[in-house]
């Protein structure tokens, strides 16, 4: 496991920067609402979902409303269903002691690191576990730091470092595109096949954001993507049948 941690660590550096900063910001925001390190730490340990934890700060100070909270969580977290769907073939064969933790810790950032699979020379199960546990520890450490040190941390000087998350996703889109174009040039896939998924994802999300606004656009975007992929699948099945 130590070897896996050493191998996985460099890959998780962008998440280290992003999670420490965002986690600290979360701890500080919780403290400003009267929730100390115990609450931030507990939330980061058992929820492990940044956007949801931020969204929960305000409701935690209000009256107990389990149904509303459950629906809000479902709305914000529904995108994880897609992550599970695309990790089925990679996580399903793994041992029963690893799988539950890997599924629990499948955040946006962890997914972005594991979705293309483990490096060829690594033990997949150990590598996935190392990436997930490292990410989890960064997020937990950040939120404890923010809650404990709060005002001592010069967050002003670090403003903008959370862009490392956007940069991480941008690099992965770039890498996927370069890979697709290499395969198009090699004649393995057509241009349509290369462009369909990223264009569908981008257009569906942008269209949803512009029409329903930023509070609930992900759900609409997911619906549009499912319709798009379903349509493409049906067409190609029909062509195959004909």
């Amino acid at each position: 496991m130590q070897k896996a941690l050493r191998e996985a660590f460099p890959r998780t550096l962008p998440v280290l920067a992003g999670y420490l900063f965002l986690g600290t910001a979360y701890g500080i925001a919780m403290r400003a609402r009267g929730f100390g390190a115990l609450w931030s730490g507990l939330s980061s340990l058992v929820i492990f979902g940044g956007s949801m934890q931020f969204a929960l700060i305000e409701p935690l100070t209000q009256a107990f409303a389990p149904l509303t909270i459950a629906l809000l969580t479902l709305l914000i977290q529904a995108r994880h269903i897609f992550y599970g769907l695309s990790m089925l073939d990679k996580y399903s064969p793994l041992s029963r002691c690893r799988k539950p933790y890997l599924i629990f810790s499948l955040t946006d950032e962890t997914y972005s690191l594991v979705c293309e699979g483990a490096p060829a020379d690594a033990d997949p199960g150990r590598w996935y576990t190392a990436v997930s546990a490292l990410d989890h520890s960064y997020w937990f450490t950040g939120s404890i730091l923010g809650a404990l040190l709060g005002s001592l941390i010069p967050t002003e000087a670090l403003t903008g470092i959370d862009f490392s998350m956007t940069a991480l996703f941008t690099v992965i889109v770039t890498e996927q595109s370069m890979d697709s174009f290499r395969r198009v040039r090699a004649g393995e896939i057509g241009l349509g096949e290369a462009l369909f998924a990223p264009l569908l994802g981008g257009c569906a999300t942008l269209l949803s954001l512009l029409t329903v606004g930023k509070s609930s656009f992900l759900l609409l975007a997911m619906g549009l993507m499912l319709i798009g992929f379903g349509g493409r699948w049906t067409l190609s099945e029909r062509r195959r049948g004909a």
Partner: protein, 108 residues
């Protein structure tokens, strides 16, 4: 809320979050092979979802006033360009983040 209610709220959010992460595995497990469409969808999704996540990160941009959106858009372009040029993941991410932080201070 009482302390117990707060604790229950955190546990509830954790449970629903875990539900969204685990449901595909629960539906397609126990040796049941997922239908061909689901397997195909699973292979297509990473490229669609990453495009979605970039836009998700940029959702707070206010495009109606030009300077506020500029640092993020320029930095995204710089990150991609740096990656096409050098193909070094860490360099692209930290370079792009440095560009963003610098622009934020120069233009903000």
């Amino acid at each position: 809320m009482t302390i117990l209610q707060r604790f229950l709220t955190v546990v509830l959010v954790a449970a629903v979050t875990l539900f969204t992460r685990a449901i595909p595995f629960a539906v397609f497990s126990h040796g049941r092979k997922p239908p061909a469409f689901i397997s195909w969808l699973g292979r297509q999704l990473p490229r669609a979802v990453m495009a979605m996540l970039v836009i998700y990160c940029l959702k707070d941009l206010d495009l109606s006033s030009v300077p506020s959106g500029a640092p993020a858009l320029i930095a995204v372009a710089a990150t991609a360009a740096l990656h096409i040029w050098k193909k070094q993941m860490i360099l692209s991410i930290f370079g792009g983040t440095a560009v963003y932080m610098a622009l934020l201070r120069l233009l903000g």
